[in-house]
């Protein structure tokens, strides 16, 4: 139940067991074309797709180096480790950042974002972390951003490393120019690759203004794909096979159903954990679907709690990140997540608390049972 890497279905794990193929041969072309086609469905885009053999941070950095030039003005909401990391990357690569800083657990409001656009007609790009894994917040007005980006004629880039595939994010419909995600989160694939979508106008800009980099040079990827359906550098073949299988599973389930399943499981976890006495770290309206960050109960020690949960119940949750270490724990609600995972997590946390001497209200079970029944109606 980690906020990533998440559990991987057995079919996906087994897909890695394959002979080594030539990444300059027909087996690879068949694999990669299928991946690109299925990824377009999941991203809901007709844009170009690039699969990088790198972590999510690598792909996010690729989105920066291919688009941002020295002095470019960029608006970015910042309220946690990953949005902070993204703003650092933008600055490393020369951006003049306008940071909309809010306390961790709380998002910049849409009005604040609009104000920043109003005050900066010359902004080059809006970068946003969809889902802040470190604090369990999710920005819920991404559908409205293109009114601003199109008015200011600027690029719109979404880092949805820890959410795409688990919540609504129709890339083309919402006019997102570049969208980035990781394999090891809601897509339920092992870590090792990350995926970027780039629409036509942004691709043109990148080709006309190539970056001073080789490995993250996206025009090179576009060129190799259009020329021969290959990647410019040797890709992580086993993870690509795993990803292909994961995509097939997503399409078999249906993206809509998958998103509904995530929502029901997430709502269940929030309600049940609140019934046990936990308080979510994030403000109610900003809470993430996929990362449930909870404040520790008074006196509940992070390491003892998580070790007891792991050793006795084989349930892994994550601690806090950076300043939040020891203050919160985080439950991942992504990918394979279903009735079994949710009930087992709730009962294991309940039992752990009991073992540690807490008297806990058992209403959480009834709440969960009822809420999870909604899964049958999807």
């Amino acid at each position: 139940m980690l906020p990533g890497p998440t559990n991987v279905p057995e079919r996906v794990t087994k897909a890695m067991i394959t002979r080594m193929i030539n990444h300059r041969g027909h087996d690879f072309v068949e694999l990669y074309e299928d991946i690109i086609k299925k990824t377009k469905h999941v991203f809901q885009t007709n844009g170009d797709i690039v699969v990088l053999s790198a972590s999510g941070t690598g792909a996010v950095e690729a989105s920066v180096v291919n688009l941002i030039k020295k002095g470019d003005k960029v608006i970015i909401p910042v309220n946690g480790e990953f949005s902070n990391r993204l703003s650092q990357m933008l600055e490393l690569h020369g951006a003049n950042t306008i940071k909309l800083v809010t306390p961790p657990g709380e998002n910049a409001t849409f009005d604040k974002v609009k104000e920043a656009f109003d005050n900066n007609p010359d902004v080059k790009a809006f970068y946003v972390v969809h889902n802040e894994t470190s604090t369990g917040t999710q920005i819920k007005y991404l559908d409205k951003i293109s009114n601003l980006t199109s008015r200011n004629n600027c690029y719109y880039i979404v880092d949805s490393v820890s959410l795409l595939g688990g919540a609504e994010l129709p890339v083309d419909k919402w006019n997102i120019d570049v969208c980035v995600t990781g394999s090891q989160k809601a897509l339920a694939t092992p870590p090792g690759i990350s995926i970027i979508s780039v629409n036509e106008r942004t691709k043109k800009y990148m080709i006309d203004n190539p970056p001073n980099t080789m490995y993250f040079n996206l025009p090179r990827y576009f060129h190799y794909y259009s020329k021969s359906k290959e990647t410019p550098f040797t890709p992580s073949i086993p993870i690509l096979y795993a990803y292909q299988e994961a995509l097939s599973i997503i399409l078999e389930e249906g993206l809509d159903k998958r998103i509904k399943r995530h929502k029901i499981c997430s709502d269940t976890l929030y309600s049940s954990m609140i019934a046990m006495g936990f308080k979510p770290f994030a403000k109610e309206e900003d809470r993430s679907i996929s990362i449930i960050a909870l404040n520790y109960l008074d006196g509940l020690e992070d390491k003892i709690f998580r070790n007891t949960l792991e050793k006795n119940f084989k349930v892994l949750v994550a601690g806090g990140f950076g300043d939040l270490k020891g203050k919160v724990f985080r439950i991942g609600c992504m990918g394979e997540i279903g009735k079994y995972h949710v009930m087992r997590t709730i009962s294991s946390i309940f039992s752990t608390l009991n073992m540690m001497g807490y008297e806990i209200n058992s209403s959480s079970f009834e709440i969960a049972r009822k809420k999870l029944d909604e899964l049958n109606a999807i």
Copy 2:
């Protein structure tokens, strides 16, 4: 029999079948520490080891961005796709390159390299591709380079992506400051990670002069490792498990024995292919141990030859790269390579040529049988 990705032992493939672990937890620390320890044996270094989730080109670029500043003078021999790519990377990141260009298939001599050092006392770094995968050449005087780099007080960086683990390359003994390799070549691991060694003085330079990058920022990797034995970004966990198993196999066999095995198999392939009438593309003294590049016989069409070999005998060899497409084919002789692979390759190529109407001298079998007997004496 590709020049990479190479065959992977079953033990290595199976090691990927594992539950997802927390890359911020004790399971990961145990895995990563073991990898670092075993990698130091294989690199023969006491320096720092960084494992990047990226292809070899990514790691080579990391060696550039962490060391080279605008205007730095760099000497680099260039005679193929990968050395050319490396010189491009150096230039992208601001280096003033002194390229020792020789025709493909032929290395710059040691005297030419020495002359470049004599003429450029202010050189900052010497970058060299150990083994040029595109043409099948290998530079064989790397042991003597540190006389020059220490005299000129400059850094010595070896890109041994396609050879380390298959030929002698004692990093500390030869005073190599930074050494880079890929997982999918002589280390017989699936693609998806690459490995860099950095010695103490170079590490200090990198920390004092951090690069403007996030994903390839090596000081960040040093910091995370010394603080918590972790990587800064989510690593490719399945490939790390595979790599751990591959390292165990290397240490069980013994590095010396492994290198001798590579040499015997390589000599066998060269002798037998020459006996069949093929001419190696590379100059005799510059021939690579791990990449056997051969000129096509007159009239032998690349695609038909390789397709026949693949379809009928399930043996994959690679075509030529860039300008050499259609003119040469390349046999990888790395990793798992042994009697079985060599004999099967020779007999399959022999039979393919027969099927295509060539009358071929069958002495290659006897040559191979004799030469391969040396494997018993290792």
